[in-house]
Symmetry: C2
């Protein structure tokens, strides 16, 4: 069965996946790009990067994915819904290369971009969005692309099969915290932690078979 | 120069060092002993335990320590100050084997226990408590023994030289969080993360030389 997967979601030691305030100039607020430096150093991001543990795990982001679901806060800065020409942060050729479902309370018609990405806009609960995305993925997996609030909502709803978090050794103190509302998540997942020579720790949550929601 | 050190402070993925509510029956609240199972499996705790990475790091708890500082919440359950006969959780022969300073707003006379532990009770700010403990330690290091609130206060005051946290792969959701108020701690410490085959991740915070408060 196809899976719902989260990849490369970087968090601080205190669990924040973004800082604050978020704006067009600072999409991650006071966190800047500190949560993502580990990824920039990999071949996944840059062909001159490293090809070790961080890269192997980062590369899974695109493997076997047929559609993505993302939240409104990932698609644009606060207020993007008021700009009819806003088509995301990623230019004319976004890196998703698949149907990409943006959750927003103010949906608009789909936008077809270059390179295989089409943005669809949905105002539906997580389970319904996932059903729609699975159909669009045609048998492949669906990536829950973030931000943290969306990932949290999908995990809390029991909809995520695999979640890869990357813990970066900084303490952000404020922002959007991945853990809120996820008490006892270990009951549903096998959790593996592996520290990388780069300094980050990869946390992989694999849904336990008996708890599978798609099985 | 002698150091102020924190050892074996176990936290959940979401940073809680204890659950809630804390009581005489459940000193760690709903966390139970889940934060400490890694330690019970080591030779540090039980002579039939493991002697690997977890043990090597756990053993540092007692090495070179001449005094401990602990908070009121570590010394006893809520309300212990009303019991004149309360002498801690640890029986007649506590494991500290050194002068041990309990921070409380209701100090009482010192209590000499078996095995080298004497409990002293102080109602002073962190820096003053540490100065007193360093004197008592006679050139050895001082352990900041917890709980989480006390560790947090000492770190926030810039008084801790080395901090060893142990991250356990559970999400507690509530309790006392180690990270609150410690934004940008990475500016003052080199942080090393190493995952153990047991499933926990050891986080070692070593104060950067330029920021040393005792140097």
């Amino acid at each position: 069965m196809p899976l719902a997967r989260v990849h490369n979601l970087s968090i601080s030691l205190d669990g924040f996946a973004t800082g604050e305030p978020q704006s067009a100039e600072a999409p991650f607020g006071h966190a800047g790009e500190r949560l993502h430096e580990w990824m920039f150093a990999t071949r996944f991001w840059d062909s001159s990067g490293s090809a070790g543990l961080d890269d192997a795990l980062a590369q899974r982001h695109g493997q076997g994915i047929g559609a993505e679901i993302m939240g409104a806060n990932k698609f644009g800065p606060p207020g993007w819904q008021d700009d009819p020409d806003w088509t995301g942060w990623w230019g004319s050729n976004p890196p998703f290369r698949s149907p990409t479902f943006v959750l927003t309370h103010r949906p608009r018609p789909p936008v077809e971009m270059e390179g295989g990405t089409t943005f669809h806009f949905l105002d539906v609960p997580p389970a319904e969005a996932l059903e729609t995305a699975f159909e669009a993925a045609e048998g492949q997996d669906v990536r829950i692309g973030g931000g943290a609030t969306v990932v949290r909502d999908f995990v809390a709803a029991g909809l995520v099969d695999l979640m890869h978090l990357v813990q970066v050794p900084i303490v952000l103190g404020r922002g959007v915290r991945i853990w809120d509302g996820l008490e006892a998540t270990e009951d549903d997942y096998d959790i593996e932690a592996v520290s990388s020579p780069s300094g980050v720790t990869h946390l992989t949550f694999t849904r336990k078979p008996e708890g599978s929601v798609h099985g």
